[in-house]
C-alpha cells in the first residue's frame, strides 16, 4: 500500500485553529495555532519562518523531538524532551520541532504546542495508527532527509529503542542510547550526549562529529516538562510524504499488560539474598524478615540456579529492576548483572563477609560480617516486638 498524506488545506485550518495562513513552505503548508503572538515573539517566529521557506536541503539546522503520545497521561517523556529540546534549540538559535505520526492526532499537536514546541509537524494517516517500526522508519527518514534537522531526540521507551536504531542506520548517522544528560558545545555546534554503561557504573560523553542528524534516545524522567501553557503558539506543518505500510510484520493483537500491583517492583522494602547466605534454609529466613518489615524478597542469579527460590524473584539484567526506599542486600558480592537491577533503590544496606566485595561501593551502609548471623539478630529483635 502506497499513499500520500492528504493535505487538503480546509482540514488543516479546522484542526489547527484560528488565524490566517502564513503561507506555503517548500515542504508543505503551515498555519498558526492559538492566539496572537507578542510583538517580539512574532518577529522571532516570522523571521524563522522566512528561513524555513528556503529550499530544503541547504544545511542541517533545528532540533526535532519524536512525539510519542501513547499513554499520554503517564508517559511524559515526550513533554520532557520538548522542554529540553527547546533549551537546546535556543542555544543554537534554531527551532524546536515535534514530529507526530498517527491517525487522528490533531489534539496532540495542540498539547505539544502548549508544552513548548515552535513547530509541530503532523503526519496523519490511517496506516500510521499503530506504532510500527519499519513503516515509521520509511516516513520519518524521508522527512529527515528533506528538512535536515541537526538534532533528533526520542524517549528511550521500548518503541524508541526499537525504532531509533533502525532509523539511524537508514540515515547512516550516529545514535546514543538512553541518555541521562544532553548539552550543547556551542563553538562546534555539537550535541554532547551522556549515556550510562555497565548499568550506570560508568558514564560516557558521546558526540557525533560529522554525521547528521545527531540522534539520541533519552531516559524518561531526567528532564522536567514545562507547565501546560494554553496561550502558547506554534506553527503546524503538514509535510508531503510517501506512506507505505510494512507488511512483513503484522500486529495480530495488542493488549495492556496485566499490571501486577504490589510485588517486587512496587515494594518499599526489598531484601535480597545471594549465595553468601550459605544455604536454602538461611535464604528462607529472608521471607520472615520481609514479612515483618512489610517488604519483598529478591535473589541473585546464582541463588536461582541453586534452586533456593523461584525465577520471578531474580533481580538485575535478566530479571527485575527495583526501586524501594530500602534495599538490604545480604551475601551478594555485587556482580554487575545483579547491581543493574538495584540502582533505583533510595538506600542500600549491604552485608557481606568480604570487606573488598564490590557491593560495598554502592551501599549507603556496609556491614562487614556474616549476613546470616546479623540478619538472625535482626529477626530476633523484630519477633520480640510482636
Amino acid at each position: 500500500m502506497k499513499t500520500k498524506q492528504n493535505s487538503d488545506p480546509s482540514t488543516q485550518a479546522a484542526a489547527s485553529g484560528r488565524g490566517p495562513s502564513l503561507g506555503m513552505g517548500s515542504q508543505g503548508k503551515e498555519t498558526p495555532l492559538g492566539v496572537a503572538l507578542s510583538g517580539a515573539e512574532r518577529r522571532r517566529r516570522e523571521t524563522k519562518w522566512v528561513h524555513r521557506a528556503l529550499p530544503a536541503g541547504t544545511h542541517w539546522e533545528g532540533v526535532w523531538v519524536f512525539g510519542d503520545y501513547r499513554n499520554y497521561f503517564q508517559n511524559r517523556v515526550t513533554l520532557q524532551l520538548i522542554a529540553k529540546g527547546n533549551q537546546l534549540a535556543r542555544k543554537l538559535g534554531a527551532d524546536m520541532t515535534v514530529l507526530v505520526l498517527g491517525s487522528q492526532i490533531h489534539q496532540y499537536a495542540m498539547e505539544y504546542t502548549a508544552h513548548g514546541a515552535d513547530v509541530v509537524m503532523v503526519v496523519d494517516h490511517p496506516s500510521l495508527k499503530n506504532y510500527q517500526v519499519e513503516t515509521y522508519v520509511r516516513v520519518v527518514s524521508q522527512l529527515v532527509q528533506n528538512f535536515k534537522p541537526e538534532i533528533f531526540l526520542a524517549g528511550a521507551t521500548a518503541f524508541g529503542r526499537e525504532f531509533f536504531p533502525r532509523l539511524a542506520k537508514r540515515l547512516n548517522t550516529g545514535l546514543s542510547a538512553d541518555c541521562v544528560a544532553l548539552e550543547i558545545d556551542r563553538s562546534k555546534r555539537l550535541l554532547i550526549q551522556t549515556t550510562p554503561a555497565f548499568g550506570g557504573e560508568l558514564l560516557a560523553d558521546i558526540i557525533t562529529p560529522e554525521h547528521r542528524p545527531q540522534m539520541a534516545t533519552v531516559h524518561p524522567g531526567v528532564f522536567v516538562e514545562r507547565i501546560h501553557d494554553r496561550e502558547a503558539t506554534a506553527r503546524i506543518l503538514y509535510p508531503e510524504v510517501d506512506i507505505e505500510a510494512e507488511e512483513r510484520v503484522q500486529l495480530i493483537r495488542s493488549r495492556p499488560e496485566q499490571s501486577r500491583k504490589g510485588g517486587l517492583e512496587e515494594a518499599d522494602v526489598v531484601i535480597v539474598g545471594g549465595k553468601g547466605l550459605g544455604s536454602k534454609e538461611n535464604f528462607q529466613m529472608l521471607f520472615e524478615l520481609a514479612r515483618l518489615l512489610g517488604g519483598e524478597v529478591g535473589a541473585t542469579r546464582p541463588v536461582i540456579l541453586s534452586g533456593w527460590t523461584e525465577e520471578s524473584r531474580l533481580l538485575g539484567q535478566t530479571g527485575k529492576n527495583v526501586k524501594p526506599k530500602l534495599l538490604i542486600t545480604a551475601g551478594t558480592s555485587g556482580a554487575v548483572q545483579y547491581t543493574t537491577g538495584i540502582h533505583g533503590a533510595e538506600t542500600i544496606i549491604a552485608i557481606n563477609r568480604d570487606p573488598h566485595a564490590p557491593i560495598f561501593k554502592m551501599a549507603d551502609l556496609g556491614l562487614v560480617g556474616d549476613a546470616k548471623t546479623v540478619l538472625s539478630l535482626l529477626l530476633e529483635k523484630l519477633r520480640k516486638r510482636l
Binding site: S254, P256, I328, V336
Partner: protein, 268 residues
C-alpha cells in the same frame, strides 16, 4: 530452519577499569562471559532447532579472546562458530559493528531464516545492533520478544513493550531480539565445554574475507565518538562498618530507625 545467533563477550565484573587514553574499558585479565541475553537467544535457537531441525551458526565480532564465547556456544549445541576479527574492526560504534556482522551474514549460503540477538548487552547497553542489522540486511524485526512460535511458515512472537503485550506475525527471513523471560538457558556440562575448547572449530573472518574497506568499519566507519568515560559522582554514602555480629546488628537496627522503618521503642 537455519538460525544465526549473534553473541557478545562481556566482562563479568563490577570492577571495571577505564583506559583513559582510548576511552574504552580495559578487558585484559578480566573474566568474561557470554552476554546473558545472548545466552537466552542461543537457547531459543537450540529450542527451535529441536522442533524444526536445521543448523545454528553463532557469530561474534571482537578480539581473539572472544573465541571463548563461541566455544562455549559450541558446547551448548551450536553447529558452527564464526569469529569476526580484524585489527580494523576496533573502536566500532553500533553503526560500524552492524555493518561487519551484516556483511558476514549476507555471505552465508543459504541465507539464514532467522537471526537472533539479545535485546541488549550488560556493557554498553545500547540495544542498537539488532535493529541496525535488520536494517542493513533489509529484514523485518521485532525487539524484546518473550515468546517465539512457528506457525504456517511464519513466526508468531510476543513482545512486552511500553505497557502492552503485542503479538506479531512475522514472515521469514526475520530478525528477533530476545528479552528475559523467554527461557532459562541450559547448564553446559563441564565435559562438553572441555571438548569444545579442545576440538571445536571456529572460523575467523576479517576485512579481507568480508571484502570490506577499512574506512567502512571500526573507528573510521563509526559516526559517534566517546570523548569522555568516567565514574558518575558517587551518590551513596559508602559508610562501611566492621565488628562483631552484635555490633553490626545494632548498626543495622539504628539505620532502620533513622529511615523510620522501625520505631525507636521497637528497637530498644
Amino acid at each position: 530452519m537455519n538460525i544465526v545467533v549473534c553473541i557478545k563477550q562481556v566482562p563479568d565484573t563490577p570492577n571495571i577499569r577505564i583506559d583513559r587514553e582510548r576511552m574504552t574499558i580495559i578487558r585484559d585479565g578480566v573474566e568474561s562471559i557470554i552476554n546473558p541475553l545472548d545466552r537466552i537467544a542461543l537457547e531459543a535457537a537450540l529450542d527451535l532447532k529441536q522442533k524444526e531441525g536445521g543448523k545454528i551458526s553463532v557469530l561474534t565480532m571482537g578480539p581473539s579472546q572472544s573465541e571463548e564465547a563461541l566455544r562455549e556456544a559450541l558446547a551448548a549445541g551450536a553447529d558452527e562458530a564464526i569469529l569476526l576479527t580484524d585489527p580494523g574492526f576496533a573502536g566500532a560504534d553500533t553503526l560500524a559493528t552492524s555493518k561487519v556482522i551484516a556483511s558476514a551474514i549476507s555471505r552465508m549460503d543459504p541465507f539464514p531464516d532467522l537471526i537472533l540477538c539479545g535485546k541488549q548487552t550488560i556493557d554498553s547497553d545500547t540495544g542498537h545492533v539488532g535493529p541496525q542489522l535488520a536494517e542493513e540486511l533489509n529484514l523485518p524485526q521485532v525487539c524484546g520478544v518473550t515468546e517465539i512460535h512457528v506457525e504456517m511458515n511464519a513466526l508468531v512472537v510476543k513482545q512486552l513493550s511500553d505497557g502492552f503485550q503485542n503479538t506479531y506475525r512475522v514472515s521469514f527471513p526475520a530478525l528477533l531480539t530476545v528479552s528475559q523471560g523467554l527461557n532459562v538457558p541450559r547448564h553446559i556440562p563441564l565435559g562438553d565445554l572441555e571438548q569444545a575448547f579442545l576440538d571445536g572449530r571456529v572460523l575467523r573472518w576479517g576485512l579481507k574475507e568480508l571484502d570490506l574497506r577499512p574506512e567502512e568499519v571500526g573507528f573510521s566507519g563509526s559516526a559517534t565518538t566517546v570523548v569522555r568515560l568516567y565514574r558518575p559522582p558517587q551518590k551513596r554514602k559508602g559508610e562501611v562498618v566492621s565488628g562483631s555480629s552484635q555490633t553490626l546488628a545494632e548498626h543495622l537496627i539504628a539505620k532502620l530507625v533513622s529511615l523510620s522503618i522501625l520505631d525507636e521503642d521497637e528497637a530498644e
